[in-house]
Symmetry: C2
């Protein structure tokens, strides 16, 4: 058995003794065409299993109706949840999605940007690779084609950016700990000042200040790679202090879970002695015991919003660049790791 070639307009037209133009118009319900012709054409099209070659159509109109998406790592739950939203919203609006990973490698990221433009995508959705420093290349692409950043963004690129209310979310999380009566609140954040880490740290500081709680340098810990292992390691450091913290705010769930594991090991009571709050509402946060208080980030909504703005820009009659920054609201989910006791 060999693969059949797709039926073309030409074949239909030959069969029907009509011109290609007429067949095309009939299929597209052009008002000029008689109902009778339309019926005949459509019937044969169905019979011959005709499917339009969207490629040819798109090629002609210089629109591919494909969106390019570049993310650091597709297999993070938060990322794949965003992608789910992206795919669904895009399909709803008649677009398809090409997905690619940068693996947090800046070189790869630029490569991907370039192949995507070459490919003729109508626009690009991107979450920046960690430590993206050379923005010229990104800007160059941005000059040719609509671009929307989400999650990992940079204020240095004058395009629409979709983020969560990082600062406020962190503020709320820390405020929650304060209301619990905690005052020696440690934070585990990133060394590298990523957009996200910076904002969350700012929220932490604002909460302490607002409640007149002194900021203690010793309780501010940073790590290159904000992982479970590092959360555990840094928590061990916190536990070795003469005066231990009474709460830990980790800027990711993974680090928070590492913290809980370390606390378990040293039989520290959670939340009585030390409360823990994470960030992401990953599945793990409900599996770990005690269950983890965390910030829920609506990935689906982020994805949908990003698509909406990108398509708006693509389809805008003017090619003016819009540079909105859209903040998606998050919510604090209180669980056992910070329950009032």
């Amino acid at each position: 058995m060999s693969k059949k070639r797709n039926t073309t307009l030409k074949e239909l037209s030959k069969e029907l003794n009509l011109s290609i133009s007429t067949v095309s118009r009939a299929l597209n319900d052009h008002p000029d065409i008689s109902q009778d012709t339309k019926d005949r054409v459509k019937k044969l099209a169905k019979q011959m299993n005709y499917v339009p070659n969207l490629f040819a159509r798109g090629f002609r109109s210089r629109e591919t109706h494909i969106l390019g998406v570049i993310v650091p790592n597709i297999s993070h739950l938060f990322t794949s949840t965003i992608l789910k939203g992206v795919i669904e919203e895009a399909e709803l609006r008649g677009y398809r999605v090409i997905i690619s990973e940068s693996n947090n490698d800046e070189i790869k990221q630029v490569e991907m940007l370039n192949t995507m433009t070459q490919f003729g995508v109508d626009g690009i959705l991107m979450s920046l690779a960690r430590k993206t420093t050379k923005l010229e290349e990104v800007l160059k692409v941005f000059n040719r084609i609509p671009l929307v950043l989400f999650d990992k963004v940079s204020s240095k690129i004058p395009c629409t950016q979709i983020v969560i209310n990082e600062e406020e979310a962190a503020f709320n999380a820390v405020e929650h700990l304060i209301e619990l009566g905690k005052e020696r609140i440690a934070i585990i954040k990133e060394t590298e000042n990523s957009y996200n880490s910076e904002k969350r740290y700012a929220g932490y500081l604002r909460a302490l200040n607002q409640y007149n709680i002194p900021v203690r340098d010793k309780l501010i810990l940073s790590t290159e790679d904000i992982s479970l292992a590092n959360g555990r390691r840094l928590t061990n450091i916190l536990l070795s202090m003469k005066k231990r913290p009474d709460a830990i705010f980790a800027i990711t769930d993974n680090a928070a879970i590492g913290a809980i594991k370390a606390l378990h090991k040293f039989k520290v009571k959670i939340p009585e002695e030390i409360a823990v709050v994470g960030f992401s509402n990953s599945i793990n946060s409900t599996i770990i015991s005690p269950s983890l208080t965390t910030v829920d980030q609506p990935g689906d909504k982020i994805g949908r919003t990003a698509v909406r703005f990108l398509i708006e820009e693509i389809e805008a009659p003017s090619n003016d660049v819009m540079t909105k920054t859209v903040e998606i609201k998050t919510s604090l989910i209180v669980r056992d790791s910070s329950l009032r006791v």
Copy 2:
């Protein structure tokens, strides 16, 4: 600022006073073209930021170098790990990937298959939606374009299928429990006889038979939706029996974690009183306490293998259909939930 149109061969040729053909050949390092011309052309191309329109190229050669991927749900870790492998392997071989979700909806799945073919993808990679019954539509697509199934497959479609060694993996898991001295081994499986559930159940039965352990119907529990909640629910049933099981083999990690939660609740000692084994090696399996013994499925490898076979089929000179079934080896990861005590 408005978006610039991409530079075309025509523009380059005008600028250089050469024909479009010569410019095209120079850029593609055709041996007929003089080095001098090549240099001039390439220099200007770089200068004018020329990027070939892959769309036009692909359109002409009837190859898009795009692979379509359809999965039930992108945000399952196992799925996104497979996708990671798919994307990486595809890019390595000069292909791009369009991803789409069926949401386990058969109608949606057919829709996706059709738009993908319309789109002119060179081949399709698919993991079937649950309860896919009407295969005619899938077969129809399969007649036009190479198709490779992975993970959720069906022997009723005569195409290459990439699976894990489901039966053997389950056998090994149950054998491991038997070697621990367990003999009342319960299984939590799916009601719906999916390919995966069926094979794992077969492995369970084979292990019991091989070790002369009676198969007790009461210990064989099924559920429509093999979730954490249902794992918990079914475990409660097991615990209410006069003679409790001494081990539980759940065919997914989620169900196994549900089981552990239920056992915790009733203060059953794991693994002394009841050991638990899951399937998937999800992140959760290391977060839960006790950590879960489970089967590691190399998603990355499944993805890469699927791409390899699909591209092989696409690029094969003959259009013969190949119908290999490829089994990827898994490994049992023993953790605390079934440790010898």
